[in-house]
């Protein structure tokens, strides 16, 4: 490794962290304004144009807040938990490419790119779990336990959904996954890109991944770990000042990172919606076409990537403003009895495509969907009675 390689690596890390941290206030502002818009309110609009400086003011306020340590907390682990929740979020995006230039992105184009992301996101459970336990508070503990159970359950579905991208591209490498999607759509439409979401397995895998993504980041309708109507603020009840801010930052950076994974694996990464490669060949003549080729080939890809990223983030807000929070047993049922079987069948039918081509695979999809509706289509959702108890404890169905 020469000194120049080292310098480029530092630059790549600086760009990634710089983007994640500088876009963070914007994302928080967007969440508050968009939610206000959905709920027919105004939202923060006083500080700066459109209230854009509000997150800065909030950060300044958090800096000067008093930090209250619970008397019976496990001090060391209590202080460690916010760092443990921020660290995996910050490093998880390291293998995501956001442009075609391999000197600037991704930070490390390793052979195990997607596995690296899964590893880092599986470590994210510790921050929440330990925060809940070390606070020595009933609400915090319940929040932490809920979070860990949820993350373990949905990690399996997420792995199965991501496996479709791995199987379709034949590699764990993120740049190979994007290159696979740069081919013409279904191999026949030359002016469009073959984004994975346009294939049957990609559509199902992408839908599964989207659900798992909401659950992994503890967002509505899966925000049971911090359900404010039952658990105060869940695992972060006892945190104040900058430790609370660290949890907050960790949550939003994790959302950005996981949206980046969805963009890369299913929505074509930094590829434009239309295939601009004819312009690249025309661009060799120079002049006007040369300018246009630089624009579409080198400058626009990061723009497309960020556009898709923010589109996904906006869908998070849309869902949060629309859907009700699930009950705990519903959450587990969705994870284990719907996502995982559907993901397994989807993966099996994708292998049929890889081995025998698309006709047997499409027949397989038709048979599977028909069977699903024949078996489950007429079944009514079972009604359950919920015992309401005055003390905070996990939901239990009524004993028959």
């Amino acid at each position: 490794m020469t000194l120049a390689d080292f310098g480029w690596a530092i630059l790549r890390i600086a760009i990634m962290l710089g983007f994640l941290l500088s876009v963070l206030p914007l994302v928080i502002w967007l969440e508050r304004r968009a939610l206000a818009w959905f709920q027919n309110r105004v939202g923060p609009n006083r500080l700066g144009p459109f209230g854009l400086l509000q997150p800065m003011a909030d950060a300044a306020k958090l800096f000067f807040k008093e930090e209250i340590v619970p008397a019976s907390a496990d001090r060391l682990i209590w202080a460690l938990a916010p760092a443990l929740s921020l660290f995996p979020a910050l490093v998880a995006a390291a293998t995501i490419p956001w442009g075609p230039n391999r000197l600037l992105t991704p930070v490390a184009d390793v052979d195990i790119g997607l596995l690296y992301f899964l590893a880092m996101s599986s470590l994210a459970a510790y921050g929440v779990l330990l925060a809940g336990w070390s606070s020595n508070n009933k609400y915090s503990l319940l929040g932490g336990l809920r979070a860990s159970a949820q993350v373990i359950s949905y990690e399996l579905g997420m792995g199965l959904a991501l496996a479709t991208a791995v199987l379709a591209s034949g590699s764990f490498r993120m740049t190979s996954i994007v290159e696979m999607q740069a081919q013409p759509l279904w191999g026949v439409v030359p002016f469009l890109h073959n984004w994975l979401i346009f294939t049957p397995w990609g559509l199902i895998g992408g839908a599964l991944f989207f659900v798992c993504m909401l659950a992994e980041t503890n967002r509505a309708p899966f925000d049971l770990p911090e359900a404010e109507s039952e658990l105060v603020a869940g695992y972060q009840t006892e945190y104040s000042s900058m430790k609370f801010a660290a949890f907050f930052m960790g949550e939003y950076i994790a959302i950005l990172a996981i949206c980046g994974i969805m963009t890369t694996c299913f929505l074509g990464g930094y590829l434009a919606p239309i295939n601009f490669s004819p312009i690249q060949t025309l661009g060799e003549q120079g002049g006007f076409w040369g300018v246009l080729a630089t624009l579409t080939g080198a400058l626009m890809p990061p723009f497309w990537f960020v556009l898709k990223l923010f589109g996904l983030f906006f869908s998070f807000l849309w869902i949060r403003a629309t859907l009700l929070r699930l009950r705990y047993d519903q959450l587990m049922n969705v994870g284990w009895r719907f996502l995982i079987p559907v993901g397994l069948v989807n993966l099996a039918l994708l292998t049929v495509y890889v081995i025998w081509g698309w006709i047997p695979s499409l027949i397989g999809y038709a048979v599977a969907i028909a069977l699903y509706f024949a078996i489950f289509g007429s079944r009514k959702p079972e009604r359950r009675e919920v015992i309401l108890v005055s003390e905070a404890q996990p939901y239990r169905p009524k004993e028959a």
């Binding site: 596995l115 599986s122 779990l129 373990i152």
Partner: protein
Amino acid sequence: MGERVLFFILAIVAILSAGGVVFSRNPVRSALLLVLNFFTLALIYFTLSAQFIGALQVIVYAGAIMVLFLFVIMLLNLGSPDAVPQERDLKRPLAYLIGFGILATLIAQSLALLIPGVPQASPDAGTARVIGLALFTQWAYPLLLMGVLLTVGVIGSILLARRRAS
């Protein structure tokens, strides 16, 4: 040279955290030190260019299994420092015997590796492609048997849970 320094740092962290797992009185801290131990092991795998195994080590052991351990410790409220009773029976000397036996075997095996001239693995020996090819061609039958074993384990755990529920 740099790799050797890195190895010694990681090895020291791994040994210290492994000792901490045994000597810590608090079950939650023991479990956390075990996570640290698994994580350093994964980093050692990375330095040996066994990247696939390193990633799986983090996903399966440090990620899933240890979260489950911690979950159970917290759910059963074993978290207080003096909650682990120390029983005096045959288990203890037996554990010492087995532990030191494994340690002696490991030392005997690794002493041979300190002699220079040990063959180096090729840089791409640890990639997913190489491991997948080996698993699904040369070691296909052991892999299938492992699958059967895991299925039996899953069915057994479902049976146990069913019996408790009814």
